[in-house]
Amino acid sequence: MSTIAAISTGQAAGGIGIVRISGENALTVADRIFKSVSGVKLDKMKGYTAAYGKAYFENEEIDEAVALVFRAPKSYTGEDVVEISCHGGLLVTKQLLRAALSSGAVAAQPGEFTKRAFLNGKMDLTSAESVMNIISAKSEQAKAAALNTLDGALYKNISEISNSLKKRAAQMAAWVDYPDDEIEDLSDENLLFSLKSNGEKLKRLISRFDVGQAVIEGVETVIIGRPNVGKSALMNMLTGYEKSIVTSVAGTTRDIVEETVVLGGTVLRLADTAGLHETQDTVEKIGVDRTKQKTGRASLILAVFDFSESLTAEDGEIIRLCEGKNAVAVINKTDLVRKIDADAIKNSFKNVVFISAKQKKGMAELEREIEKVLGTDEFDASAATLMNERQYSCCKLAYEGICEAVRAVQAGMTRDAISVSIDSAIENLDILTGEKATQSVVNEIFSQFCVGK
């Protein structure tokens, strides 16, 4: 069985997010994306042990994390399992999953962990029956969801790429299967051009994925700042803004764990807002450590500064925390006299906005800056967008197939080898849209070419 991975925590932002990896290569895959502080490889660890360390995606640090090792058969699925927990936040968790998927794991099908648990004898008969129902229900749901998306722009986009590749594949196949018919070989130049332009299209889809996710799933957002700069006022301004739609999610451990604000085309998930409200009346004393922890899991930071005061050492800490992150400097209290050194802020932040929460001024500017920093300003909702990790992973594999074909052409490999790489790209696109690959190439041959005896 292949090694599978999926996010095991729910879609709502919680305290932690868990990616579960299961299968014979689970430990190897996990070792590629997780490095423990002690330097011990997960591969060398016993079952039921944990390691603290950092998770990486393409050598970039994602987050601090804890990895739990389960050895077959003593795990949920009965296989080797690693569960990597990070600091919640959908984007961080998704990045972690993506790291696992590009390190040798494949995306788990609906219900697959449970299925494996059953197949490996970890579950009894009655449970198995309900699993079957869940699996089929889930897949119906997934299918319906996929159909919805596939109806639109994404389907068109993927089909265009896939059809264009199929045309090439069919031409190469006809050239091979009908050597006596007058079928021209594709020149290396034409083939490369076609491969590269389709590769580019896929690459665009892949790179738009994060932005798309920001629009579709929302952006994990935190508001930070030293006491009294007006964080809760900003919060109120965001939630009270006529254009924003605010929903509250009930949490189990706290009254409110998250508020969702739809700001223009962007969904902000304002995590830990309970904390914000709470600090309103009590002594505001957010320690640097706590702030640091919060920014670690956020995809967007709104750093609030006071227009009417000079920058303090605490402000300096805040500025440092925002380095290299998606952050907007929000300078509040423009209704008062300026004391702040705005240039110092502008030197540290690409996106700076002046507001007066009290007078409700500057909201439109804030919205614009947020969209700019997230890239959602250029996001075209009608354009094709990958909706989920499954589609993302199919696209990525298709893209890799194309890259491989390009390399094969450039290395001077013969067409038979190149065609196999193109087939793999087509197959992955067809998995995405639900068609059968080889059959469609064969059909393409007969519609395109006058061949045969």
Binding site: Q109, K143, D177, T414, R415, A417, V442, K453
Partner: protein, 623 residues
């Protein structure tokens, strides 16, 4: 009056390319076999093109041979021109094709059947087939002889319910003016066999003396060392030529003016024709923008003046056929000897078959060749071989022999037929195999000969030679990975002149062989220790090195695929009682009754979640 004639283990109906292999394989496996043909002069007849092999079909012939079949040997003995197609397009798609002396081929095959121990050859039309009380099959001939057999292979080709169409004229007929098998279909229908009508066609044959070759392009054979059979030691000889001709605007005009007289376009033919082998009028209609169509003029044998016009099949009236042929440069004075025709015939929906080619619901009854919805001599031979083997195994009470997709084109062909079915006559193509980098014509023996040996179709002597070849390949591979090539001026010149980068330090010979730009022959001057080995050994080593990365990846895909292939689905599963299967999956699974979870996963309409449900079900029921 009906009389009881004889009892057999296996009876084969039809002695075309499928029937021949089925009968020979069955008899060679030691069971008492009989083969019936409507006319014994039609054994191994080539009613269409006088050639064997071609892309992917050449692969099939090599595979049939690697398993101990006869087609490759017969083709090698009777070939008159041979070409290795697709040279330069990569080893996976190299395909051997030979023009065949068709009378000689037929004679060879008839004699092979006659000489075969355990095999009787009989001229008879089977008019009825039914099951006896003891579970045997009973066959009745036109002359009222009754034979019994434990297993029967239906290899009826275009004879079954055959009907020929030429313009407004149509009549019941087998191929090439033979009698059709007119009555058998009725009895097959009584067995609830889902018959349907397919059609195919063939072009006219013309007299060589009436063709002006001075204006045509000559096509010569290649110099190739490779024969179809791994046992043929003499390279093929070129004794004849083909010619290339072109149609023109005038030809097109004649066709378009007379389209209403084509039985295809007037709706007389209900049978579905092959997409890959369209009639000439089809080509004109479907590709109107094409100014001219190329076609080939091929010899039918060394001692005949008949020529075959490959690419010009037609069902237009005879006078129109003559008219359009005469518009073609070189054929102005053409004398037609045999008129082109379309032929419609009965065949089965192959979804009614198991991968062993036995009917799902009719124990001991097998189908092969055109009867199963395929087309082509090679596709027929491949299925005939498998059906014959499985009929004999059944008689012996042994497990069926099933080749999976990853093993061969034969396995791919049969899996496609019995899993996906076919909407038009099925032709093999390299693009149908997802594992084509591994399924090459050059390694058919490595892939399949061990199976042939285990079955008992490969002699000890041949197997010994095969094992020796494997050993030589291993040793040579080891040698080139250990031999260092040092830098020299000549070597650097060679590398640069072949468009590949010069060396910075000495490397292993294998590293140089991996470069697509370099061949074994190129490197000979730098490889003084090279042993004297047969060319096919060097060929294997070179291909395995050059395509190493791709081969490894395909092997990984295969390993993944085979995990599901070994999970067998019992014959008696009631898919309607399995909870969680979607309706469409239930229907398809009930109809096709796949033998493994792997096969189930390839059925269109069965989703990955259905497969999960099946796996759970299997575990739950302990199957």
């Amino acid at each position: 009056m009906e009389y009881f004639a004889k009892e057999y283990d296996v009876a084969v109906i039809g002695a075309g390319h499928a029937g021949i292999e089925a009968a020979l394989a069955s008899a060679r496996l030691g069971v008492k076999t009989v083969v019936f043909a409507i006319n014994l002069d039609s054994i191994g007849n080539m009613p269409c093109n006088p050639s064997i092999g071609g892309t992917s079909k050449g692969h099939l012939v090599r595979e049939v041979d690697a398993l101990g079949g006869e087609m490759g040997k017969a083709a090698d003995k009777t070939q008159i021109q041979t070409r290795m197609l697709n040279r330069g397009k990569g080893p996976a798609v190299h395909s051997l094709r030979a023009q065949i002396d068709r009378r000689e081929y037929s004679k060879y095959m008839k004699h092979a059947l006659e000489l075969q121990e355990n095999l009787d050859v009989k001229q008879a039309e089977i008019v009825d087939i039914r099951k006896t009380g003891e579970g045997k099959w009973q066959l009745r001939t036109m002359l009222e002889a009754v034979y019994t057999a434990k297993c029967v292979v239906l290899a009826t080709g275009t004879f079954l319910g055959g009907k020929i169409y030429i313009g407004e004229v149509s009549f019941e007929s087998g191929p090439d003016g033979m009698f059709p098998a007119a009555k058998l279909s009725e009895s097959l229908k009584k067995l609830n066999i889902p018959l349907r009508r397919f059609k195919t066609g063939t072009p006219s044959r013309v007299n060589r003396r009436s063709v002006d070759f001075s204006v045509l392009e000559k096509q010569e054979g290649d110099e190739t060392d490779t024969a179809f059979s791994f046992e043929t030691k003499r390279p093929p000889e070129n004794k004849s030529f083909c010619y290339i001709a072109y149609t023109n605007d005038e030809t097109k005009k004649v066709i378009l003016e007379n389209l209403d007289r084509s039985p295809m376009y007037s709706g007389k033919i209900e049978g579905i024709g092959p997409r890959y082998c369209p009639s000439f009028e089809d080509k004109i209609v479907r590709f109107p923008e094409k100014q001219r169509h190329q076609f080939f003029i091929e010899p039918c044998g060394l001692d005949t003046e008949e020529l075959y016009l490959q690419g010009m099949s037609s069902s237009l009236p005879e006078e129109i056929q003559l008219k359009f042929l005469k518009t073609i440069k070189g054929l102005e004075k053409v004398e037609v000897m045999r008129t082109a025709y379309a032929i419609e015939y009965d065949c089965v929906d192959p979804l009614a078959l198991k991968p062993s080619l036995e009917f799902l619901d009719l124990e001991g009854l097998f189908g092969a060749g055109q009867f199963n919805g395929s087309s082509g001599y090679e596709e027929a031979a491949a299925q005939g071989l498998i059906a014959g083997i499985n009929a004999a195994l059944k008689v012996k009470g042994e497990e069926p022999f099933i080749l999976d997709r990853a093993s061969s084109y034969i396995g791919t062909l049969i899996d496609d037929l019995v899993t996906k079915g076919c909407m038009d006559p099925y032709r093999m193509m390299t693009s149908r195999s997802e594992y084509r980098l591994l399924l090459r014509q050059d390694n058919a023996d490595i892939r399949l000969t061990p199976y042939g040996y285990r079955l008992g179709l490969i002699s000890e002597e041949r197997y010994g030679a095969f094992l020796n070849k494997l050993k030589q390949i291993e040793e040579e591979k080891r040698r080139v990975t250990q031999t260092t090539v040092h830098i020299s001026g000549e070597l650097q010149n060679l590398l640069v002149s072949h468009g590949t980068s010069p060396l910075e330090k000495g490397v292993k010979l294998a590293e140089l062989l991996k470069r697509p730009q370099l061949s074994y022959a190129d490197l000979a001057p730098f490889d003084s220790e090279r042993p004297d080995l047969p060319p096919e050994v060097f060929e294997q080593v070179e291909i395995e090195l050059k395509y190493e990365g791709y081969i490894r990846r395909q092997q990984a895909q295969i390993n993944e695929m085979r995990r599901l292939e070994v999970k067998k689905l019992p014959d008696d599963i009631d898919y309607n009682s399995i909870e969680g299967l979607r309706l469409e999956a239930r229907e398809k699974l009930t109809k096709i009754r796949p033998h493994s979870v792997g096969q189930a996963s390839r059925i269109s309409g069965v989703s990955p979640s259905d497969i999960s449900v099946l796996l759970i079900y299997l575990n739950k029921t302990g199957k």
